[in-house]
Structure formats: structure tokens, C-alpha cells
Assembly symmetry: C2
Homo-oligomer: 450 residues x 2
């Protein structure tokens, strides 16, 4: 049996490893378009720091996958066409065109950085304006930063944009964040958004909201001129971080059905609409744990998990891809920001009688030095009392506390059931009534109030 | 209606406040034997630090409870007898004996430090050998420390003993911990126990295990000689922290039924065995969330919660005291230690086919600087797959991550359901597979193995 995996990052290499582990007799081939496999892409923003090495993000080299795991990793192999009838993929490599038959095919091509349709972007793409998605992007950025630019514009205030903002600002650059939306971190409440904005200002970051980039242009002085809907600016270099989209080129040609946001539609067994073709990771959709609806939420844990599961599934094992909550966290200077489940707007759109409550709590016992305030927002369904989602922002505790809420939501708990939980208390780590319990109490009140 | 509350700490003042809030017309009287109400006793070990003030642990003064909340707080009022027939309490205060009738009575007398039956302890109790349980104990310790002792023996390696060890050691004292058991923190696995011990050694703490204190004696040089089953030592001062027991003097006289560890037996409505007498907080038992069995686990959140509930119950409200898991965390120098639910031994004693698994995981992404290793131990029931308990030890993340496990156990989740949860990932806060997920995976394997 031959298992062919297209794409050698988180999902792809997890899939290949699991398949080979379960079926050592199978031939497992990974076709990776770039020169890199298996790296921690989420670490890229941190590796922009002086002295940090992008290569440290490599988890296992292609050589080691070959030698230690017996996986036939082929770098620089771009798959261009899937011939599902003949169970074959075709593409090109440095050695010319190739074709390869498969018994089971796994598409794990991930997502790619969006290059938005901005006037002038083509001339500057890779020459002053860069994304930050692949290891190769990281290497490029290290070279760019070695030239000691003094100013950078970061287009897009998502996770990657804000994490890179922190690293570059702490590296001494003048950083301007250009966000087309009227706010940073739209999934937060107004309070949370204000805290993130205040943190940016505190660290000397120039944030321009409602600033849609309209034109990029190399100026005579060598700088890049940026025209936005909210004014102009001039910088040395631009980081384009307006998001990612599923990398489905190869799938669309093969008649594979697509889903939300152009991702590949898969069932719980990670099967696409075409026989013997599976897909896993950021390229696919998933089911939401609260709504059961198909969603596209590209995050590393889901990709790793789906990769492992698909490796089991293509080798005859049983598995079911679990639903997702989109639980996520990031740090922004001295703040932790986290979310899980639905936002108020999403909950309402799904037809819930959604109630949102927000509290502010100390991150330590009142009498314990240090710490600060944690803003906790919970969203619940008035009809059932069930928890639907929530967010947290504060100087400490948010990135881990969010998992407690995620666990409660996964287990279909109500606000009252959360309020009744026996959670840990220790003065350096929180008040005796955990912020989550205070938030649950407030939500119960607000649900009753109407 | 008159509600009388005996005891003015966490449970008692929560009860009084909630009762008065719900029934402003009721007369709410709190009889507190000491001169203090409502303080954060859990903060005492930290307030032993130079410059830290014990008085900062006071949450609200008796004056403010009187003035702002209309609660009749009577300090220095020791209740000696409950006359349940005549619905009356009797006792003594500075003004002489008193008696007071009640419609509803709440016993919230908490727990008190154990004074173990050691030869010579009576002569030195309060004169070189001190507990650390009440605010008054804290004041005494501040005076003791003002005399600049150079060495202290801490008898008992529980939460309070270890937290005080950290503070006193960091204050420059020579600290010896005397633990009668063969290990510190018995609820941890051997790995966890070794980590705690190594942390103590790293910070120059002399830990003597299996050292049962047999005799205390003032020496001619003014120091205190301690004879233990594992040798002798001489110190300036001794902290007696061998645990607490329910303070039930007043209850036993009234024929109120007792329970586990001598605590007051209460039902889910916090009623004792005697009509119109309720009890709440550290003085009572509770039901365990996993086993349903009666347990005595004195912890602050439970006390606060029960106090609030009993305030509702004595004023005609409905409420049910939720079951407990004994979720707890503490810091010990650079380590966080946390637990929830049953230990392996407890689970086996309860008749579960209990399996224990342990993993070690990074506390940050592998490529992210700093952090360390988190030891996670999970206990599950092979028959049902259900999670029963767990512990964590590591330099960061344990104190908050334990709540995720607590939530999963409260919601009767299996190891597999935990493994399938969508938890947050961010390089500064953990690896993409959360330590809890890795532990759940290991537990699933170990359960299948048999």
C-alpha cells in the first residue's frame, strides 16, 4: 500500500508518522513543495528577535523523517494535479515533472498568507513587503532585519501581526499597526479591545484603526509609502499579516468539494468528497463543538490532531475528528489575551438567546503583591443556561484559565455548573473566588434579569 | 427574625452578609471569640516577609460590617454552649457572661491549628513555639521575627509549612523542615515529591523526613532543643504547622452529630442534625464530587461558598452546597504544585479500578526560551474511563491548569473526552499539545494496557 501525503508541515508530517508507525509495511511518501518540513510556524513572530534563530523552529528534519521514521519525504515537489480516476498525483520538481500513484491520498497543504489586492503590491512583494507564514518567510525577515530598518508597518492586527509587533517593537523598531477594522482583536469586548490598545500605546506602538491600505509605493528616498483610508505614512519595511486562506489549488482541480471560507469539506473521518482522498489540518473545515456547524478555524493543535487521526484512518484504524472550539491565546507585551467558543455576535447569528456578561477580577489575592486585573467575558444561552464562549484579557492567567472554560463548554456545562466547580485557590495565583466563578455568577444574574 | 452566626471569618461573615442582604429586616448577629473578623488566613505565610503587613489581610473590619452592612458583629464573644431546646447560645465576653436567643443558628467556627502532644510543648507554646492559623498568630510572628531570630524549625510539610518555609528562607533565616512522614507533599507521585525536595535543597532548606518531633526544650543558651525520631537540632524559634482540625467544641456540647475527622455533619442544605442549627465552612464535612462520600477538606473557596449559601438558606432561600474536589495549589519557591480529586490510593480505597499515568512536558513551546518541565499525573477509572484526579508540579502553569482538570472531573469526563478537547496553544504558554492532553493520551494507553 502506498500513502501519499501532500504537504509536510504539522498535519502532513503527523499523518505520515502515524501511518508509518501503524503500518510499517506501507510506503509513505510526503510531497512538500518547499524545502522545509515540520516546523513550528506559530513561533515565527518570536524568532524575529535579535539573536533568535528561525532554524530552531524545525522540529525534525526531512533527513530524520527518512532515516528514523522510514518516511519518503520529497522536498521541492509541487503537486499540481490530482487524477482521482487513476489514483495518481502529478507535479513538478527541480528534476522536472513527476507523477506518483497512491492507494490513499492525504491533502495537508495548510493555509497560506493572503496577499491582498492592493495597488502596487506586486512590485514590492518580497522586495520591501513580506508575509510571515513559512519558515522561508522567517529566513527572509531575518535578512531584512539584518539591514537594520528603523521603521515597520504591520498590516493586520491579528495574532501574528500583534505578536510580531511585540517582538519588533522590543527590538527597537518604530512600529505602526494598520488595521482596516475599527478595532484590534474584534472578538474581544470593548473593554478588552481598549486594554489591548492601551498596551500598544504604553509600548510606543502607533496603531491606526479603520486604516485600509490602498496603495504601496517605493519612494525616491528608498522608503515605502503607504496610502491608507486614514492617511499616509512612510516606512522602511512592511509586514503583511492580514490573515490566511486554505491552500486548496490542488483540490479544486480534482473536483473535491469545498466548504466554509474555501476550505476542503471533510467528514468526521476526514474524508473529502472524493473516494480515497482524505484531508487534514488548516486546509480543511471542522465541526464546531457548540453549534455542530462547519467552521474554518486554522490553529496548530487542530492541525496536529487531525494529522495524527488521518494517519490512523488511512491505515484502516478507527477515529473521529473531535469538534473544535477555536480556543486560542496570545501574548501582547504585558497582556495575555484568550478566547474560546462563540462570540456574542456568533451566538446570536446561530439563533441562541445569547447573554454576555463581563467582570473584572484581581489576578492574585487582593493582599498579594503584583498582578493586575483580569477581564473575563462569558457568553451563555438564556434558554438552556449553557455556556457558549468567552474571552479573557489580563496581565497573567488568561492563557491557561481559558482552558477551564473550554473544558466546561466541551462538556456542555451551564453557567451554574461552572459556578459550582471547586477550583484552586492560592494567593499568588488568584482570589479565593476564581475570576471564572465570578464571571459565571454575573452571567447567571444577567440571564435571570432580562 | 434573629440569625446568630458563631464565628466571624470566611464562612461566618459570608453567611451574615448574605443573610442581611436577602433579609434586611432580620437581626443578624455575629459572635466572634477573637478580636478579628473576615481576614485572608491563606495569606499569613506571605505576610511573614520583611515589610509585609499582617493587617493587610483584613478584608473588612468589624466596624464596616456594622456600619455598611448592618451586621451586629460582637468581638471577643466566646460561645460556650448551645441550648437547642430553648434556641439560645451562652458564653462569655469581656463584659462577663452573655446569652442570646436565635431563630436560626449558623456554626462557622472553622478549624484550629493542632497542638500536637509533644513532651515539653506546653511550656513553650506561645513562648518560642507558635502556630500560624489566625491573624493574631500572624501578629505574634511579626513580633517574633522583629527580634531577628537566625534559625527556625518548621514542623509539618503541608501547604502552610512549605509556604512559610519559602517566605522565611527568602528572609534569610536558616530553615529546617521536620516532617514525620517519609516524604513531603504525600499526594504527589514520587517524581513530584522529588521535585519539591530538590527545590527545597536548591534554596538551602534543610528537610528532615521521617522526623517525628518527640520533645521540645528550652536550652540554657536560650535556644529551643528539638528531639526527633531522626536526630536532634537546636533553633531559635519553632513554627508548628502539623495541620488543623474542626473547631467543634460548641457543637459537641449541643448533641450535634459529627462526621469525618470530627467535623460537623451537614446535609446539602447545610443543616446539622439539630433543628434550626446550620453549619458552614471549615468546621463541616462535604460531599466529594467523584465518590459522593463525606469528606473533610478545609479550603477557603469552599468556606466562602458555603457561607454564602447558608446565608441564603437561613433566610428561606433555596440552595444546594455543591460537592467538592479538594482542588488546591501552592507555590514553593520556583515551583507550582497543584492537585484535584482523588489520589491513586484514595481511588483504590473507594473501589475504583484505578490507573495512574504520569508525563513530563515542556511548559512552553520547545523553541521558546525559558520555562521548564511540568509533571502531570492523572488518575482514571479503567472500568468507565472516567477521570478521578490528578496532580501537577512545575515552574509555571500548574496552579491554573489544574482547574481544567477539575472542570473535566466535575463534568464526569473520560480521559478520551479530555484528550479530544480543543485547548489553547501559544508558544510562550505551552506546547501545541497541552500537557493535559499528553497526560490524557498516556492514561488512555495505560488503561488499555492492563
Amino acid at each position: 500500500m502506498r500513502v501519499v501525503v501532500i504537504g509536510g508541515d504539522a498535519a502532513g508530517m503527523s499523518a505520515a508518522s502515524e501511518a508509518k508507525r501503524r503500518a510499517p509495511e506501507a510506503e509513505v511518501v510526503v510531497l512538500e513543495a518547499t524545502g522545509d518540513v515540520s516546523y513550528g510556524a506559530c513561533g515565527l513572530p518570536y524568532k524575529l528577535a535579535d539573536g533568535a534563530r528561525v532554524e530552531d523552529l524545525q522540529i525534525l528534519t526531512a533527513e530524520r523523517f527518512r532515516g528514523e521514521r522510514g518516511i519518503d519525504v520529497r522536498l521541492g515537489h509541487l503537486v499540481e494535479k490530482i487524477d482521482a480516476e487513476r489514483r495518481m498525483v502529478r507535479g513538478t520538481s527541480e528534476q522536472g515533472p513527476f507523477e506518483l500513484g497512491y492507494d490513499k491520498l492525504v491533502i495537508a497543504t495548510g493555509a497560506r498568507a493572503i496577499k491582498p489586492p492592493i495597488a502596487g503590491i506586486d512590485e514590492l512583494w518580497g522586495k520591501g513587503v513580506y508575509p510571515l507564514k513559512t519558515l522561508q518567510d522567517g529566513r527572509t525577515w531575518k535578512k531584512v532585519l539584518a539591514d537594520k530598518p528603523s521603521s515597520v508597518a504591520i498590516v493586520g492586527g491579528g495574532y501574528i501581526g500583534l505578536e510580531a509587533t511585540e517582538t519588533l517593537r522590543e527590538g527597537g523598531l518604530q512600529v505602526t499597526v494598520l488595521e482596516a477594522l475599527p478595532t484590534l482583536v474584534p472578538f474581544l469586548t470593548a473593554t478588552g479591545q481598549e486594554r489591548v490598545l492601551a498596551e500598544a500605546h504604553k509600548h510606543g506602538v502607533d496603531v491606526r484603526l479603520g486604516a485600509l491600505v490602498q496603495r504601496l509605493q517605493r519612494r525616491a528616498n528608498g522608503k515605502i509609502g503607504i496610502t491608507t483610508s486614514a492617511g499616509e505614512l512612510e516606512v522602511d519595511v512592511v509586514l503583511m499579516a492580514v490573515g490566511v486562506r486554505p491552500n486548496t489549488d490542488v483540490a479544486t482541480g480534482a473536483g473535491i468539494e469545498l466548504s466554509v471560507a474555501g476550505s476542503i469539506r471533510v467528514d468526521e473521518q476526514l474524508r473529502t468528497s472524493v473516494a480515497d482522498i482524505f484531508a487534514a489540518g488548516d486546509v480543511t473545515d471542522a465541526f464546531h463543538a457548540v453549534t455542530g456547524a462547519r467552521v474554518w478555524i486554522p490553529l496548530a493543535l487542530r492541525a496536529n490532531r487531525a494529522g495524527k487521526l488521518v494517519g490512523r484512518l488511512v491505515t484502516g484504524g478507527k477515529a473521529k475528528a473531535p469538534p473544535v472550539l477555536g480556543t486560542a491565546a496570545f501574548r501582547f507585551f504585558g497582556l495575555e489575551v484568550a478566547r474560546t467558543g462563540l462570540t456574542l455576535e456568533e451566538a446570536k447569528a446561530e439563533g441562541f438567546d445569547a447573554v454576555q456578561s463581563e467582570i473584572k477580577s484581581g489576578t492574585r489575592a487582593k493582599y498579594y503583591p503584583g498582578g493586575g486585573k483580569l477581564t473575563v467575558c462569558l457568553i451563555g444561552d438564556r434558554a438552556s443556561g449553557r455556556l457558549l464562549g468567552g474571552t479573557m484579557v489580563g496581565p497573567e492567567g488568561a492563557a491557561h484559565r481559558i482552558d477551564t472554560l473550554a473544558a466546561a463548554i466541551h462538556a456542555q456545562r451551564t453557567a451554574e455548573q461552572l459556578y459550582d466547580m471547586d477550583l484552586a485557590y492560592s494567593p499568588p495565583f488568584g482570589p479565593s473566588w476564581s475570576p471564572l466563578l465570578l464571571a459565571a455568577s454575573q452571567l447567571m444574574k444577567d440571564m435571570r434579569a432580562k
